[in-house]
């Protein structure tokens, strides 16, 4: 699952269209989704971004990658330039975070500063936005840094003030960069799927806990033992039948533990 946080409806619009996201009823925020992507419109500012991120995590607890997509200012970059971020700094607290890239991307990466109000002073070579640090701090609660990113499209610069931005222009800027945005999301999704497959609970787990009563602690033990079994012995053909024949949780756990022993 890819969770996308955007501040504005006009930033969301081209993403909703491209990914064919459907509006979900009965939510405190505008939430759109397919079976692979969820998008929430947070409103402007880092507090809104943080609360919307937390809200989206509560809607669906599937392990997800998180992307904050939106517009940003930059002193020199041409309008429409798409950028990922390798450093995001809260301009009020001066605290920084460092998104981690585990695959090569064709997009450039930049440092970004999150401001509390629109910033028209383009002194630093920084992307300027108003959400990234709120989003990033909140999303860091829900997955590791490799799966949390900010992707910004330059909407204003030293020659084109943020005061000139309007809704249509924002939608067009995002729409024009939809291919690199989609490519990045696709790569992120591939890596997330790989990781989720590595850490997934083996398929037979559910069949076993349905058949026998396992305490919460035993369920944890069972998961771990089944993962170890899978790592050591790829074949699971007879395992399910052998385990279910044992009838009770203690014997099932003992069977697995014994099978995993190293012997001389």
């Amino acid at each position: 699952m890819i969770n996308i946080i955007v501040a504005l409806d006009c930033e969301a619009k081209p993403l909703i269209e491209y990914f064919k996201l459907k509006r979900q009823p009965d939510h405190a925020y505008p939430v759109y989704r397919t079976d692979k992507i969820q998008l929430i419109v947070s409103g402007v500012g880092k507090l809104n971004a943080a609360t919307a991120t937390g809200y989206l995590a509560g809607v669906n607890d599937t392990p997800a990658a998180w992307v904050n997509i939106g517009i940003a200012g930059h002193k020199t970059h041409v309008l429409g330039t798409p950028c990922l971020t390798h450093k995001i700094t809260d301009q009020q607290s001066n605290q920084s975070w460092y998104p981690i890239f585990i695959f090569k991307t064709t997009l450039a990466t930049e440092s970004l500063g999150t401001f509390d109000a629109p910033e028209n002073n383009y002194e630093d070579e920084l992307l300027h936005d108003m959400e990234a640090t709120g989003f990033y701090q909140a999303a860091s609660r829900f997955n590791s840094a490799e799966f949390i990113h900010c992707l910004k499209v330059v909407s204003d610069n030293a020659e084109n003030s943020s005061r000139e931005i309007n809704k249509q222009m924002v939608s067009e800027l995002i729409h024009e960069q939809i291919d690199p945005i989609a490519n990045f999301i696709s790569s992120l999704d591939t890596h997330l799927d790989n990781w989720n497959n590595i850490t997934a609970t083996p398929d037979i787990y559910n069949a076993i806990i349905k058949a026998c009563h396992f305490s919460t602690y035993q369920q944890h033990q069972l998961k771990q033992l089944l993962k170890r079994w899978t790592a050591l012995r790829s074949e699971q053909n007879n395992l399910s039948a052998n385990l279910l024949r044992l009838n009770n949780s203690r014997d099932i756990l003992k069977y697995l533990q014994d099978a995993l022993n190293i012997t001389e």
Partner: protein
Amino acid sequence: MQYIYIEEDIIDHPQAKSIIQRFEKSTLVPIKHYGEVFNRKNQNFRLQKNQPAIILANKNNELVLPAPPGYGIGGKHNYYFSHMLNCLYDCRYCFLQGMYRSANYVIFVNFDDFKKSIIDTAAKHPGEETWFYSGYDCDSLAYEPVTAFAENFLPLFDQHTNAWMELRTKSTQIRSLLEYDALSNIVVAYSFTPDEISQEHEKGVPSVDKRIEAMLKLQDKGWKLGLRFDPMIYHPDYQQQYSDLFQKIFSKIDKNAIHSVSLGAFRIPKAFYNNVAQLHPDNALFSHNMENTQGMMSYPLDIENAMLDYCRQQLLDIVPESIFFSCTPPGKEDL
């Protein structure tokens, strides 16, 4: 190298500049302290191994530390220091992946401070061999073309002969050593596991044959060599595997050029073990049953003893007991 993080205070440090020059295409990211990137929670060591970054930093304190118990080759005074945290290689049994949150390579550039600390520490033991291990938190030589670590530190040990250094490595990056006259107080110690185990569990590491080739070149130049079979990794056919390895090494390396041989069981602190097992649930190495002895996870005692006894005997058939050392973790000496 896509990213180089650098502490703002060392942007003008000559060592930092020289490393940055090697990576012209890398993006330079200023940071306040390496811990901001390296120690942050919610990172995935395994995923970062896909594309590690360099972190250039200054080490401000605890530059030289007492060596952990059981880590030594007979010296009375044992210390270690780390010019680098993490390793280019990806050995599945390595404790670093459980100890650190990040797989990025931290390179400390204040070599002069390390040197001063080594000199001060050696001066506490005048006239006595004082050992400094450089390959505890990293491979001593694997990143030599970038760090120039050996190149920088050999002259120091040339001048301070009661200070001994072990360069522990699996690397073939030995140019710095070959260009320097062999020093009597430096031991270049090569770590090995048998071929099959190495191919399965030591990603990116030069083959056993390549390592032996490197040792031969060092032997020819007169460098003292060490052999480290630590940790020993279990294999159902471990007797044949280790026996073949010993035979292969000693059929090429002159046993008289060997300064020391050490043998150590696989062991890893419980907290690190838990971290690694979480990172590699699909790896057989961490799926066998392990035993917890005073917070240290290792193979069941009967297996561990059988492996150690067998390999000790095999090695003592080749090398004298005086150069053989067993690395026993605390709590297991009397078992």
